[in-house]
């Protein structure tokens, strides 16, 4: 029985392999002390950072842009040059592991669970959509002691003391700021006295609509109606007809591309609204295409004002953007800078807490989180970052408003910087 003998040999060999594979070296005290232990990066192995962004589906432009920002940050790290060489910490390459979050709670769960499978993941950059983070990805990573740093979540709920996960941070602004700026623009610049809002129920849209409504009423305006819509329908004309009965001057609908396009077009057709406004979910040429250029003309869109970056504008214009354009073409969203910053604060924190043990690197998880929350006056691309205990690292933000002219976004017609408190 030649064959069976071969089988036996194979079996023995694999047993030996199992026995040998189990061995390992000692661990430093810090790791023993850390509630979640350490990530141990063996010699020659990379330091793995996860990304959990929306990279497929109709909102993929948002996530791909952030992913590009993260990749550029890894490139820039260490050698301070966009040269295609991956940055290193203590001789270990930095590697990004990309997952998709599908812009939904479900997608966020699935993606997060795939990432936590890899125990080498040190920290995660994500998510793009607040719905993928809130109560889902933040919890899954938090339970494993993995910090989640979002470059584009803006929902206030994520950093509310009641709902904040201890391992969650973000370099994107909190939408209480954006809502306040849009309200200020509407009441002071446009002189609108009444407004209605539409949101699609996502934490992002709802948070923004509510923040706007609160600030608008505070500024003396009237909110005639606040409704939410079902995504996936085509005909919102009866909802708009209904809203129009309240007679609002401004219609604010901070939603995403597809529905944003339809509402724009049908609101123009309806003709009852003097001003239309949306926010960064629609701040992409895709939305103009979806709405039709004629309809989009004159609509106001808010978003982080990249021309007023509190950080190094010169670096952004002359180094970052050209590097971005070269590899990824025109930016499709406005969060690449936030993503660049997110990676940088993570890498800085890793550098700070990592314990070198010969060629092996130990990264204690809780210490890493604490280092991230201790980020103070970090000179980022989007401004000076200081993280508070709720995970908001943008203490103030500059939000700009653009309009659409001849099917293209105009320069900023309004811009304001506001702090998180008040």
């Amino acid at each position: 029985m030649k064959l069976s003998r071969l089988l036996v040999i194979v079996a023995v060999l694999s047993l030996v392999a199992v026995a040998c594979g189990g061995g390992g070296g000692g661990t430093p005290e810090e790791c023993e002390a850390d509630e979640f232990g350490c990530v141990t990066v063996a010699a020659g192995e990379p330091i793995k950072i996860g990304t959990l962004l929306v990279i497929t589906g109709e909102n993929q432009t948002l996530g791909l842009d952030s992913q590009a920002g993260a990749e550029l940050a890894v490139d820039y790290w260490g050698d301070n040059a966009f040269d295609g060489t991956v940055g290193q910490i203590a001789g270990h390459d930095i590697e990004l592991v990309n997952e998709d979050e599908g812009c939904s709670a479900e997608g966020g769960t699935a993606g997060a669970q795939r990432l936590v499978t890899d125990t080498q993941i040190v920290a995660v950059i994500g998510t793009s959509c607040s719905s993928a983070a809130l109560g889902v990805a933040d919890k899954i990573f938090g339970d494993q002691g993995i910090p989640l740093v979002s470059p584009s979540n803006t929902s206030p709920a994520l950093t509310n003391p009641g709902t904040h996960n201890p391992f969650y941070l973000r370099t994107a602004h909190n939408d209480t700021i954006q809502g306040a700026v849009v309200a200020e623009f509407a009441s002071q610049e446009l002189g609108a006295a009444s407004a209605a809002t539409i949101h699609d129920g996502s934490p992002y849209a709802e948070g923004l609509a509510n923040a706007f409504a609160a600030a608008f009423e505070e500024a003396g305006g009237t909110i005639t109606d606040q409704v939410s819509i079902q995504t996936g329908e085509s005909d919102y004309s009866s909802i708009l007809t209904d809203l129009a009965t309240g007679g609002p001057e401004l219609l604010y609908y901070p939603i995403f591309v597809a529905e944003g396009g339809l509402i724009t077009q049908q609101a123009v057709e309806n003709g009852s609204f003097t001003y239309l406004a949306g926010s960064d979910g629609m701040f992409t040429p895709d939305w103009i295409a979806a709405a039709g250029a004629e309809n989009a003309d004159g609509v106001y869109i808010s978003g982080p004002d990249l021309s007023q970056l509190a950080g190094d504008a010169d670096f952004y214009e002359n180094e970052f953007l050209p590097a971005y354009n070269e590899t990824y073409g025109e930016p499709t969203s406005v969060f690449h800078a936030h993503s660049f910053d997110a990676v940088n604060i993570v890498l800085t924190a890793i550098e700070a807490v990592a314990i070198e043990d010969g060629d092996t690197l130990h990264i204690p998880r809780t210490a890493l989180k604490d280092a991230l929350f201790a980020t103070e006056n970090f000179p980022g691309l989007t401004g000076t970052l200081s993280c508070n205990e709720n995970g908001d690292c943008q203490q103030s933000a500059t939000i700009g408003v653009v309009t659409v002219e001849n099917g293209d976004f105009s320069d900023y017609v309004y811009s304001a910087t506001k702090g998180l408190e008040g």
Binding site: V227, E233, S234, D235, S238, T241, D242, A244, A258, D286
Partner: protein, 359 residues
């Protein structure tokens, strides 16, 4: 077991139509609630006649599109007794593909100089593309399954639906794309003193025209007669010398062409195309076809219009008075509730015969 024991085990329920009574009570409760809601809504005085009129026209317009798509379901169902679940994708295929033709017509300036002709060209092109997809579907997905249990073509149709959706996503991308505006189709027209949004007028008009042509075709031509004959009794139809396969192919072709034209009308209303644009209208049209009585051509038109009107008017009329927020979200709750009510009392929809037992 004694006779008396057997008899005693037969309660009063054996004879009383309890189920019917429950249903009638249910129907009455829902109807009363709807009326109360409508009264409350009207009592607020928030909605002027003008608003209702707008909603009505909006409903008619979307109902017209549903009706045309529903015709495709009904034609195929009438003949093969299968639900062509992929019909929404047939609709999408035409509308999405015509986008590129429209772009060309627009950029070449032809659309500006010949808007009506452009629209007709687009309708014809979209009809052709959809027809092609429908025929492929019939050939590849349905023909091998003739005579299989009914669930099998249903699953195939669902598979085909996904496959088509993602094929077009692969071809044209996942982004929503906007159609160029057709000159002359913005603004309102004044009809009988009522100003109506121009695209809606065109959509309603075109739908009526298309539906009537189909009706005449089915009722008056030899091929139409053959289609009806195959629908009633396939075997006897072949005995009359009718090539059943050919008639089925023609049916799919017509259904596809109608869906393609509906696609362009849909575009006139909503101006944008995407790979998943067919799913929701397809579902709605299917509902409309059942509501009107699946298998009936007039029923499809009626069902489409009624569904469109319910969707436009229903939520506001029945619900907003009850203080429910964002009634627009509840559109499908209202329409499906009405569908269930209709089917409880008219199991065959408005115009359909009750479904035959075991087809």
């Amino acid at each position: 077991m004694t006779t008396s024991a057997r008899r005693s085990s037969l309660g009063i329920f054996s004879r009383l139509p309890v189920r019917r009574i429950v249903l009638i009570v249910l129907g009455v409760i829902i109807t009363v609630a709807a009326i109360a809601g409508a009264r409350a809504t009207l009592a607020t005085g928030q909605y002027s006649g003008r608003v209702w009129q707008d909603l009505f026209v909006q409903g008619l317009a979307r109902g017209s599109v549903y009706a045309l798509i529903a015709l495709g379901y009904t034609l195929v169902y009438g003949i093969l007794l299968i639900i062509n679940f992929a019909h929404g994708e047939v609709f999408m295929a035409g509308a999405f593909t015509t986008l590129f033709l429209a772009g060309y017509l627009s950029s070449s300036g032809f659309m500006a100089s010949q808007p009506v002709l452009s629209l007709l060209i687009m309708l014809a092109f979209s009809a052709l593309v959809s027809m092609g997809v429908a025929l492929l579907l019939e050939r590849i997905a349905y023909r091998p399954l003739r005579g299989a249990p009914r669930l099998v073509p249903l699953i195939t149709a669902i598979g085909a639906s996904l496959f088509l959706q993602y094929t077009f996503r692969g071809f044209y991308g996942e982004q929503v794309r906007a159609y160029p505006n057709i000159p002359g189709l913005t603004g309102d027209w004044n009809i009988f003193g009522i100003s109506i949004d121009r695209p809606r007028v065109v959509v309603i008009g075109a739908a009526i025209l298309i539906w009537s042509s189909l009706y005449v075709f089915i009722e008056r031509t030899k091929t139409g007669r053959a289609m009806r004959a195959v629908g009633e009794d396939r075997e006897i139809a072949s005995l009359m010398g009718i090539d059943v396969d050919r008639v089925i192919v023609i049916t799919f072709a017509i259904g596809g062409a109608l869906a393609g034209m509906a696609g362009i009308l849909f575009i006139l209303l909503f101006n944008q195309a995407s790979f998943d644009m067919g799913f929701v209208p397809g579902l709605k049209a299917f509902t409309a076809a059942v509501l009107g009585g699946i298998g009936s051509i007039t029923g499809a038109a009626l069902g489409g219009l009624v569904l469109g009107l319910i969707e436009a008017v229903g939520p506001i009329l029945f619900l907003s008075g009850a203080g429910i927020p964002s009634v627009g979200q509840l559109t499908s709750v209202v329409s499906f509730t009405i569908l269930v009510l209709v089917l409880i009392f008219l199991p065959g929809g408005f115009l359909g015969a009750p479904e035959e037992k075991r087809a």
